[in-house]
């Protein structure tokens, strides 16, 4: 096959196993040059950069602040860097975030008590079968009864002791009434707030901005950014987070000059310089200082094809996560931080 038709698979990251050891850690001219340029206080000795071996593409990494204490590279799979609806699903996929995860704990309650208002999962399944699907007794409906109800893992015969169909449907009716409370309850991390803005007017002077008339804009829903950050770094997907910045280089041959590769947030100079600053801070309690790279996006989003329902969300992403994972819609890597009240310019008489 001619070379132009060959589709190379993305390479594995350069290895950092304990057996490897630095190849030429102190001697790498690139990292030395970097350390001279970037050190904030010259009297503090520069960090000893850790250089990995090259992978089969001739790509290697320089960790300017020393050997990383953790990298997600052992978890690297082809599935993380490829995505298509025609691909076979990764059987042991590590991207375990669910579609509701970006909303925080908002829907967790629904997920954990999915059989509310029924007392247990078995009754819930039977009632769901009863109210769902077709009204007619059919072979398809019978299959659904067996597969979705009787064969379900959480189906138990003893759950039906004292079962009464009319009683259960009453449960359902009662549940619908009086449960119209806010969709974004505060206990789930979402806070409803209003913010004040000062109103200006031409030719009207106030002693200070605080004296200007205030207008209260209601209807802002938000989650506290620190709480979002905490949950993001402690959920399972955080195993793919990079805690140490590095520079990525490519050498065509061992003799060629190294070529810098820019790709991820944690390989960017801005990230490395921030890491440098916090690594120079004292290590309280002997704990490693790590940069939590926040990226914010915000734009109006239409929710429907018809009508005008729209949201103005602020999304928070973490640059510690590889863009190959972060940008996959199926990874649900976004964290919803706030919904801004929509203000648009109309009414100008």
């Amino acid at each position: 096959l001619p070379q132009r038709y060959r589709d190379e698979l993305p390479p594995q990251p350069p290895p950092i196993s304990s057996a490897d050891g630095p190849e030429n850690s102190n001697l790498d001219p690139q990292s030395d040059a970097y350390n001279r340029d970037c050190s904030i206080s010259p009297e503090i000795p520069a960090f000893i950069a850790f250089t990995t071996k090259s992978n089969n593409y001739g790509i290697y990494r320089v960790y300017p602040h020393g050997r990383p204490s953790y990298t997600p590279d052992e978890l690297h799979t082809l599935h993380q860097v490829s995505d298509s609806s025609t691909f076979v699903k990764d059987p042991n996929k590590s991207e375990s975030r669910t579609w509701w995860a970006p909303l925080g704990s908002l829907l967790k309650g629904i997920q954990e008590n999915y059989f509310t208002p029924f007392l247990n999962a078995s009754v819930f399944r039977l009632m769901t079968w009863f109210y769902g699907g077709s009204n007619l007794k059919s072979l398809g409906e019978l299959n659904r009864l067996v597969n979705e109800v009787i064969l379900a893992d959480d189906f138990q015969q003893k759950d039906f002791v004292g079962f009464s169909a009319s009683h259960e449907s009453e449960h359902l009716d009662k549940h619908d009434q009086g449960h119209t409370s806010s969709r974004l309850p505060a206990k789930d991390g979402w806070i409803e707030a209003s913010v004040n803005i000062a109103l200006p007017a031409e030719g009207v002077k106030h002693r200070s901005e605080a004296d200007a008339p205030q207008f209260s804009v209601p209807g802002l829903f938000y989650r506290r950014p620190l709480e979002v950050l905490k949950s993001a770094f402690q959920e399972d997907v955080a195993e793919n987070f990079h805690f140490s910045a590095h520079q990525s280089y490519w050498k065509q041959s061992p003799e060629s000059p190294p070529q810098r590769i820019y790709s991820e947030l944690y390989t960017a100079d801005a990230f490395i310089m921030e890491e440098e600053k916090i690594k120079l801070l004292p290590q309280e309690d002997g704990l490693e200082n790590v940069v939590a790279g926040i990226m914010l996006w915000s734009d109006s989003t239409h929710l429907t094809s018809f009508g005008n329902a729209s949201l103005w969300p602020i999304y928070m992403f973490f640059g510690n996560l590889s863009k190959y994972i972060r940008a996959k819609p199926t990874s649900f890597a976004a964290h919803h931080l706030a919904y801004i009240p929509k203000v648009c310019s109309l009414v100008l008489h």
């Binding site: 803005i197 805690f243 309690d285 790590v290 990226m295 915000s298």
Partner: protein
């Protein structure tokens, strides 16, 4: 045009408050200014004292490998389409 109707109420109420205060309507420029102020007010709310403390002093969290590390939140990208337009 349809898109604008769902915000009618809010803009109406800001106009009402404005007229009550200054006995004239807010101009387009004033409304744009107010929307800009709204963004800033929201960010003042979001970046609360607790967050700013973590920004300066870090926040200790247990990582997936069981090791405690001190994290410093840092902003690298703020990509937003402002609602003032």
């Amino acid at each position: 045009l349809t898109q604008e109707t769902d915000c009618f109420q809010l803009v109406d109420s800001i106009q009402d408050a404005y007229r009550l205060e200054f006995v004239k309507s807010a101009t387009a420029a004033v409304l744009t200014h107010c929307k800009c102020e709204l963004m800033h007010a929201i960010w003042i709310l979001l970046l609360d004292e607790e967050f700013m403390h973590a920004y300066v002093h870090g926040i200790v969290m247990e990582c997936i490998d069981g090791i405690l590390r001190r994290f410093f939140p840092r902003f690298f990208i703020y990509s937003a389409d402002y609602p003032e337009k």
